[in-house]
Structures are given as C-alpha cells and as structure tokens.
C-alpha cells in the first residue's frame, strides 16, 4: 500500500496540518529545516542510521550516519558564524555534488542565513549576475571552481569570504579566501541553531525568464511542510528506502527533494557525483540496491538511447518506485520504463517558484502515459484563458496552468523584484507560465511554455541572457535565440546571428562563438547550433520576432506577419 493510500480520499480530507502533525510542528513554533533534517532524525533514535552514501569519481565512497550529518552541519554552521555570518545573510554554495554541498546547505540554514545554491558549471558572468543580485556575503566552493570566482572578485566588494573546502595546504590563499576542511575540523556537538520561524527566509534559487536578468526565488523554512509531505506521498519515501535523486542541488529539485525531502523523512540517500553514462548509472543502482529513483526525462531518454541490452547486465530488481521531473515525460519513456524496469516513471510537475510538486502521478493511481497527472491534495489547479484568467471549464481546451496561491512552499518573493513577482499572479491565480489541457478525468496534459524560455534538459535558459552574451562576441552584430527540438534534451539552444562587417560565417567562428557563450554563461546556455543569416525578422519598430524563427525550427505555422518589417 503506498503512503498516500487513496488519492481521492486524500483530496477529500486534506489539510496541511497532516504534515505539521507528523513533524510535531505547531503554528507559531520555531521551524528550522537544518534541524529537521539532522538533529530531529537523531532524536527519533536514528542517529546511527546511514543518511548519505556518496560516491565520487573513480568509485571513491563516503558514508555518513544521521549523527555524522548533524555534526557536519553544526561544524559548518559554527565556522560560518565565526566568520560573522548573520541571519538572512546570503551564503552561496558553488560546488559539485560533494558531501560539503549537502551539509553546507543545512549548516547555512542552521545559522538562520539564506542558502544560495548555484550550478557549478555556471560561467563567471552567470555567477556574477546572481551574486550581485543577492549581495552574497560568503561563497563556498572547491579549488576547481575558485578560478571563476577570482576572475570577478574585484567587482564584488560585498563578497567578504570565499571558503574553499579542498584547498591544497601547500598553496597560498589569496585575499578574502579561507580554507575549510570538514574532515580535519573538530566536530561541533553543541550548536545553537538560530530560531527561525515559518516565514523566515531559507533558500534563494535563481531561475531564468524571457526578459531581464535571472530572478532570485525566495523560499522560507515553512516550505518543509510541503516538501516533506510530497516526498512521502508522491516519491513514496519509506523508512527502509534507499533513495537516489539524480538532480544537482544547484537547481531546485536537488534541494527540495535531494536534501530537504530526503533528510526530513530520514531515508538513506545515495549521491553519485560523476558524469553520466548508462553503465555507471545502472551499476550504481545495483551496487547500492536503490529502491526509489527520482530522475529527469533527459536522463531517461539518454538511457533509452543507450539501448535495452545493457540493462540485462545488471540486477535492477531492487527498484520499487520511479519518478521524473524537469520537463514533460513523453509517453514512450513511460512505456519503455515499464518494459525494462517493470514499473513506469511517474511524471511530476512543479518549478522553482512552487518549491514542491504541484501536479503529479501517484503510486496506486491509474497512469496515463504522457500525462502530468492530477494536482497534489491541497493544491487547487486549473487552466485559465490568457485574457481574463478565468478557468476554462471545458475538457481538452488548452489554457494557462493556474494554481491557487497559499501552499506552504510557494515562493515569497523574487529577490529585489516585487514588480515581476506581482506579475506572476492574475485574477487570484499563480501562473507558472506553462500551457496544458485537462481531460474528462481531471488529468493534466502538458502543451508547452507560454513564453520564449528554453527548457533544455529540464533547466530553463533565458533567450535574452544568451542573446546578450552573443552580442559581446566581437563578430556578432545581432542575434536571436530560440529553442530547437531535441530527442534527449527536449529543447536545445539555437542562435541566429548576423555578423559585423569584416566577419564571415565559418565552422571555426561557429565553434568560437559556442565556446564563448559556454564559458561566459554555462554549457546549458551554449547554442548547440548557430545559423549565420544576413538579417533577422523584425517588426517595423525594430523588435526581433523570435516567434517566426521558433515556428520555422518546429515546423509550425508562422502566423500573423503583418507587423514584419519589409513584408
């Protein structure tokens, strides 16, 4: 019997206080995610239970009990406090998926400061924009990523320290740099956890929009209530589970379900910190006897591409429950997983701003391959028209996904950007920016984004950011960036570029521009294809019409071109 029991019954009798009761939380009490994910589990008698099994490159393995996690998070918290960190200060985590990232996240929360995780593959410009916006006081990183920070540190007077967790003692530190070696530090047994409350800020995750700079999505400690319950009911996490969330904590899935959901439910979590290959992933599942696997469509399609033969080399019978997030999971992938693993990947839908799963397929509920499923109990979701934002109320009609605000893990603000935050709410609904329809049984069916944001491998890339970076390349006069269909990543970045006089499009220039964007922004934002063109389609007022380029890439009707220049 799955944890959720009957979905329909849960919907009828739902109240968020189910989670509050399970967590012994009463409104008005102190609530600190760091404590809930370590000290509380120890107090429940599970101090010696394995909380984290980490495997790095070359098969190096480290194991941590919940007591080890408690001590490690205390130690990091104390170190930060000794450096002068104060509640609500921003502390950035800029690391690969190493144990210090997981413990650092919880350690920051224990001090009352705000954790700001950033994807470690970000280039220096992407990093700078986000650190500047948050006015980050401390950044924690590895020596391999430190050079990117050093490149921009002179422009960041607000950044007081860069903590390097694996500094070679033989090498000198530079100004504002501090070494911290978790294994060598005396462990802190008693640490005064800052008394945070429901609305105390906890996490600042950055996400991209169509226009403007990336937005810092502010979450609060009360988000735990939704992250805990969705981990129990959707991911079906149980005490004896060996859980693997493949997401990087540089993105929201990696924190909501790779840290908070995993540790607050007290399961044993496995982390694999190495690059992707089908063989290494299957070996990891077999070796650690993974029971619950939460992954992403891009990874699932990459595994499909690697073929079925390789699966026969491994015993994957340990797998009990599979789920997916990041982008729509196509029906072929659901059917394939049922064929090769004996169980389907259940699609879950949510985003950085929602903080936890909003619409999902549930264990025990009928699965319609390709569907997003139904709203989580306690979540009111519908589709609305794009004019008055009224619910459509008609089966199969496509509209904007709309969610009634008020769930515990809803973002509280875009950092320093109230206007954009307010624009996300229309007629009493929160609009995630996606389109779907609802069938006659209440299942949601994803259609696409309602804007130009590119969803590549489950990560959102702003065309504006890529276009801005392209314009900094010495050869580029103008650029337009759109999504291009891709089997594995769903979408990849494609750039249309006009060149300045004296430059000619060539394969070498193409590669040079690709690498320029990759290093400046990130590999995700690097155009996978660049098309050199003589001109870009523009309106008579000079605005580039991405819509036309997008339609061409997707083989869609171009639509109204009455405003097109030279038409």
């Amino acid at each position: 019997m799955p944890n959720i029991g009957s979905y329909d019954e849960r919907v009828k009798n739902f109240n968020w206080n189910i989670a509050e009761r399970e967590l012994d939380y009463k409104p008005g009490n102190v609530i600190n995610i760091g404590w809930y994910c370590s000290d509380r589990i120890c107090q429940m008698g599970k101090a010696d239970k394995l909380g984290l099994i980490w495997e790095g490159q070359g098969g190096v393995e480290k194991r941590y009990t919940y007591n080890d996690i408690r001590l490690a998070t205390n130690t990091i918290g104390q170190f930060l406090r000794d450096l002068g960190i104060k509640p609500e200060d921003r502390v950035c985590l800029f690391m690969d998926k190493i144990p210090e990232l997981y413990f650092g996240f919880l350690g920051i929360l224990k001090t009352g400061a705000i954790a700001q995780p950033l994807f470690s593959a970000f280039g220096d410009e992407s990093l700078f924009i986000r650190l500047e916006n948050a006015q980050t006081r401390i950044l924690i990183t590895q020596k391999k990523h430190a050079p990117k920070v050093r490149k921009i540190i002179d422009k960041m007077p607000w950044l007081e320290y860069m903590i390097i967790v694996d500094q070679d003692p033989a090498k000198p530190l530079q100004q504002r740099e501090v070494a911290f070696n978790l294994e060598e530090m005396p462990k802190v047994d008693k640490f005064e956890i800052h008394p945070t409350y429901a609305e105390s800020p906890s996490v600042l995750h950055y996400t991209s929009g169509t226009t403007g700079q990336p937005k810092g999505v502010k979450h609060v400690h009360y988000s735990l209530i939704a992250q805990y319950l969705t981990s129990k009911w959707v991911l079906d996490l149980r005490d004896d589970d060996i859980y693997w969330c493949t997401a990087d904590p540089g993105w929201v899935t990696g924190t909501s379900y790779g840290i908070i959901g995993a540790f607050s439910t007290g399961v044993t979590q496995c982390v694999l910190d190495s690059g992707f290959s089908a063989e290494s992933w299957y070996r990891f599942i077999e070796k650690h006897r993974i029971t619950m696997w939460y992954s992403a469509p891009t990874a699932i399609r990459s595994l499909m591409k690697a073929g079925d033969e390789i699966i026969k080399k491994f015993d994957l019978s340990c797998l009990r429950h599979l789920a997916s997030v990041g982008e729509p999971l196509n029906s072929e992938a659901v059917i394939w997983s049922e064929k090769v693993f004996g169980k389907p990947f259940l699609d879950t839908y949510w985003q950085t701003e929602t903080g936890s799963i909003m619409i999902s397929n549930y264990p025990g509920m009928k699965i319609k391959p390709g569907s997003m499923g139904k709203p989580f109990p306690g979540i009111t979701a519908t589709v609305v028209d794009a004019d008055k934002y009224e619910p459509l109320g008609e089966t199969g009609k496509i509209g904007l996904i709309a969610i009634k605000p008020g769930w515990p893990s809803m973002m509280r603000m875009y950092w320093g950007n109230e206007e954009t935050y307010k624009n996300k709410f229309k007629n009493g609904w929160y609009l995630p920016g996606d389109r779907s329809s609802i069938d006659n049984e209440g299942y949601f069916w994803f259609v696409g984004r309602d804007d130009d944001v590119i969803n590549t491998g489950g990560h959102l890339v702003s065309p504006f950011e890529v276009e801005s970076a392209l314009l900094e390349h010495p050869s580029v006069a103008e650029s337009a960036v759109v999504a291009k269909p891709d089997f594995v990543n769903m979408e990849v970045v494609k750039a249309f570029v006009t060149l300045k006089p004296g430059f000619t499009g060539s394969k070498d220039l193409d590669l040079d521009i690709m690498n320029f964007v990759r290093k400046k922004l990130s590999p995700l934002a690097m155009p996978q294809e660049i098309e050199f063109v003589d001109s870009l389609p523009k309106t008579r007022s000079g605005k580039i019409m991405r819509r036309i380029l997008h339609a061409k890439e997707w083989g869609e009707e171009i639509g109204d071109t009455s405003t097109l220049e030279n038409d």
Binding site: S274, S277, G457, R518, Q528
Partner: protein, 80 residues
Amino acid sequence: MEDMKEIIKTYIINEYVEDDSEVTYDTPLISGGIVDSFSMVSLKRFLENKYKISIPDDKATPEAFDSVNKICILVNEYLK
C-alpha cells in the same frame, strides 16, 4: 597518433579545465565530470573542424568521448 592525442588533450585542458588539474590520455572526461553532455557538442565540433571529418551523432556517445585515447580511436575511424 601521438600528435593527435596531444592536440586533443591540449584543447580539452584549455577549454574545459578551470584549475590546474592534470589530464592524461586516459583521464575519464565524461564520467569524470570534466566535459558534460552539453559541452560534448562543442568538443565534437572541434574534432570535426580540426580533422575535417563528420562524426555521426549516434557515434558521439559519452563512452566514445570518455578519454583522449578513446576520442582518437573514434576520430581515426572517420579519417580513413
């Protein structure tokens, strides 16, 4: 062959390695997290430009790109 290995290794160090980590001809590139799946596209483009070859997408797998030695075997297949 040695020339090719050195050229590819130098390119990888210059383009994908931020610090002073050592890269040998056998260092795991993809499974070792030095080159991610998105960046593989630019590495493939470099090989195609440099050696004037075309590597089919289905041959450009993480396994085939996982070390300088493996990449050289792949490139040599298409040089013939």
